[in-house]
Symmetry: C2
Subunit: 209 residues, 2 copies
Amino acid sequence: MEGSAPRRTRIQQEKRELILEAALEVFSANGFRGSTIDQIAEAAGMSKPNLLYYFRRKEDIHETLMQRLLDTWLAPLRELDDIGDPLTELRSYIRRKLEMARDFPRESRLFANEILQGAPRIKPMLEGELKTLVDEKATVIKGWMRAGKIARTDPWHLIFSIWATTQHYADFDVQVRAVLGADRGGDGRFEDAARFLEQLFLDGLKPKG
Amino acid sequence: MEGSAPRRTRIQQEKRELILEAALEVFSANGFRGSTIDQIAEAAGMSKPNLLYYFRRKEDIHETLMQRLLDTWLAPLRELDDIGDPLTELRSYIRRKLEMARDFPRESRLFANEILQGAPRIKPMLEGELKTLVDEKATVIKGWMRAGKIARTDPWHLIFSIWATTQHYADFDVQVRAVLGADRGGDGRFEDAARFLEQLFLDGLKPKG
DNA sequence: CAAAATTTTGACCGGTTGGACAAACGTTAG
DNA sequence: CTAACGTTTGTCCAACCGGTCAAAATTTTG
């Protein structure tokens, strides 16, 4: 039996990383079918056959990329914990997700692309691992509601709304920039978004008093 | 000079509609580059050369589809009006957008695909028409804030958050269904979402009292 | 160093895809 | 009927794309 960790030379380690970085760039910008091996190879600074020496098929690159992505992508939700003040916990979660949209927009778009196409490669994971995790966190949130720490609502849709609002700033970045214009579309937009989302999720839109 | 409305026979009218309907189905599911003319032709029940008789290039279909989409897509925002109670207006807007996600998910995904790829074909429209419209509505919303009718926040990010949360149910439908599971993922999910979003946008998550 | 193992590349292949074209088919008006 | 016009299709092509292969270049190892 082969060990589960394939033995790799130093060059293989490095080149595989190089390819994955290049592929993230290309896939996230053009989608899976919209990207060609040649594009990835060029972005990685090597010839196509050379790239195919490290990853036998185009799908293998995508699969590897997706597996790595999912671990880090769900980390913020995993950290959502029962200890500490509920509202603070949620605020931290929103902030972390927004930071990820700011710092890893390519990963967000890669994921969005996959889901948009019907998640052909990761549907089992969504129905298994992801559902389990979300259900678990929904239970935590329900506990907070029962304890009167936060208002009663649907925990699942709460999580969806956090995903949607934060990832929007990565996935729809072009639109956000276009609408905000040159002056407000700069680096400050994430701070503005953070402030807005905090207020939205905590207090909503009803005027005070 | 040719008139701006190209003269078309009855058959041309019908067949073009047929093609656009088929193309919406295919493009929204596979993206532009992921879709082939053959697929669209088959979905429209005709041969490829026949389809190319009505639309000379693949891009022409996509362009026509996108132009039509944009008009209807922004209609709800255009309706956002200064008359009537502000909170009611916003609630209506959210409801209408959610209904569009429910009734026209293919249109939503087509749009999402375009933006994700960097909006190569509609960027001018985003920076022009769309920005103008949003700026205009932001002014209306600011007026409501100044009048103390709704809480003070950033009107642009408010609009983004409404777009994000509602379109999420069309664009990330697979994920939403997977997480909710067979029992809660049925038709009721849009009503649950409507209830949740209303509460979120009006009152936020802080517990009452 | 020299053999062995690994890495890189140019050339090539078969399948797909967007699109062209001319010929055939159908329809309609004089 | 028939000429003109609109519609449909089979065939074909050039470009592209994922992937193979054998040979050359390079690195590692004894």
